[in-house]
Symmetry: C2
């Protein structure tokens, strides 16, 4: 099931999405639960949602394009991984040789959260804005000191996060926070895909298209730390709450895109697409100066 | 004015504190505003609070010790500075010679927030827990791209934060988040002191007492980045909301304390005291293992 949050005059509502790309329709699930996060990871609510989808009359559905989507959840924490996808190595070289022993983790603050359709404003202070297309895990059950073997069951769904980053601010000091935490630098969505639709989270293709050119194309089979390991590992230090988001790191850019680094500028558009999840397109606009 | 948040059977309430150390009394301010954060930085509400304090009958006051304090605010963001106090240098050496050009900023997640009286549980996964006694700024007005000359006016008050840190987790990778974000690793309080009581935020003495020994004693006159500069600088990238907390970095430990580093253990107590603000004592307990 794909779950969205959409805006109405009466406030935010949860919804279920069906249909092929470009022809998606949405069913209001506010009779099942008040918020999307209340459905994510709650098997009973999910069952009710599935039943509602099965029984809904044609007239109950709204074209997705007629709705304004909000972020599918409002996470209490947005945790992000640094280096987590192995680069290409020549034949005969052990691809795991340079693997770090532990995940490198940083935080994006709540002001970074953006809706699927929100434009990202490149502010006056920005110097070198870049994208990072990532799979984001949404926590479905409160997780504390979770064993590795049980960790997948704490994931309530999968979505997409563009970890927009200002490289110059990121590199000014040892800690990356300011480069990562400009307002709106974490567009999230468009929807949460529940785990029953993801046969293997380590077999998903992550791609980024910038202005028509594919700049990233790499499978989660090449990650150093699996989705399960990340939930397990993080939960040793902090309690993960329902709706928290863990963004699992960005794949390497393809060589041509690495060679052709250009900061994002007003008018640019970046699409992150992940097999089995969907795609998130973000447009960039100028500041007020 | 000193503002607390205290627990009642009917929920959290704001309060004003008067009296000398050990004999403080609290006046319930819930007739002025529902939450402490609604008073911080709102001149009208602050005026009403002052009037209420002036008119309150003796019987209206409750001894501070009879109340269970909560964190004075629940910040949307807890932003922290790394290196911000200059070390001692020999006579004739420019103390500013090693100043970094920019603040080093990281984030503590919401699960770290602790009340003034909360014990910090040293969890099973912890390896090397340490304290950092810091002055925390509480934002009083929404701040975005604030000029340096106006930045002080966006501070709604001052309190104390113990930036509890696991050094081993902090140093595992380039980003410090996991060492900083164990549950409860940010005790905050006991109260917020409004700016009218702080003649000069760059003339405050920060001290830490660990088990009866003073291990830190340094003035904010030795900081590299002033409170005003920090608000100005951060607001260039992110919108700061009312109630957000910026912890302004820890002074150096005194040489004897540096030479005698011992991880915090169950039974230890750490008091952070700041002239003009107050003191925050945190006890450490063991985990469940």
């Amino acid at each position: 099931m794909r779950l969205v949050t959409f805006a109405t005059a009466a406030g935010s509502r949860p919804g279920a999405v069906v249909g092929e790309p470009g022809a998606e329709r949405v069913l209001d699930l506010s009779d099942v639960a008040p918020r999307t996060v209340d459905i994510v990871g709650d098997p009973e609510a999910l069952g009710e949602a599935l039943a509602a989808v099965g029984m809904a009359a044609d007239s109950a559905w709204t074209p997705l394009g007629d709705l304004r989507l909000e972020p599918p959840v409002t996470p209490g924490k947005i945790l992000c991984l640094g280096y987590n996808y192995r680069g290409h190595v020549p034949d005969g070289v052990d691809p795991t040789a340079d693997d770090p022993e532990y995940p490198d983790v940083f935080v994006k603050t709540p002001n970074t959260l953006g809706a699927p359709g929100d434009e990202v404003v490149i502010p006056d202070a920005a110097l070198d804005v870049d994208y990072e297309g990532e799979i984001a895990l949404v926590i479905g059950r409160r997780a504390k000191e979770v064993p590795l073997g049980e960790a997948l069951s704490y994931i309530g769904g999968y979505t997409i996060l563009n970890d927009v980053s200002d490289r110059a601010w990121q590199r000014r000091q040892s800690q990356w926070a300011l480069g990562k935490c400009f307002d709106g630098f974490a567009p999230l969505g468009p929807w949460i895909v529940t785990p029953d639709e993801i046969a293997d989270p380590q077999d998903l293709l992550v791609e980024v298209v910038r202005d028509g050119v594919v700049t990233v194309s790499q499978s989660t089979a090449t990650t150093i730390f699996s989705a399960a390991y990340v939930v397990h590992y993080l939960s040793q230090t902090m309690t993960l709450e329902v709706g928290d988001v863990i963004s699992t790191g960005t794949p390497q850019k393809l060589p041509a895109a690495q060679a052709d680094h250009r900061p994002l500028a007003p008018g640019d558009a970046v699409t992150v697409r992940v097999s089995g999840i969907g795609e998130l397109t973000t447009r960039f606009t100028g500041g007020t100066a």
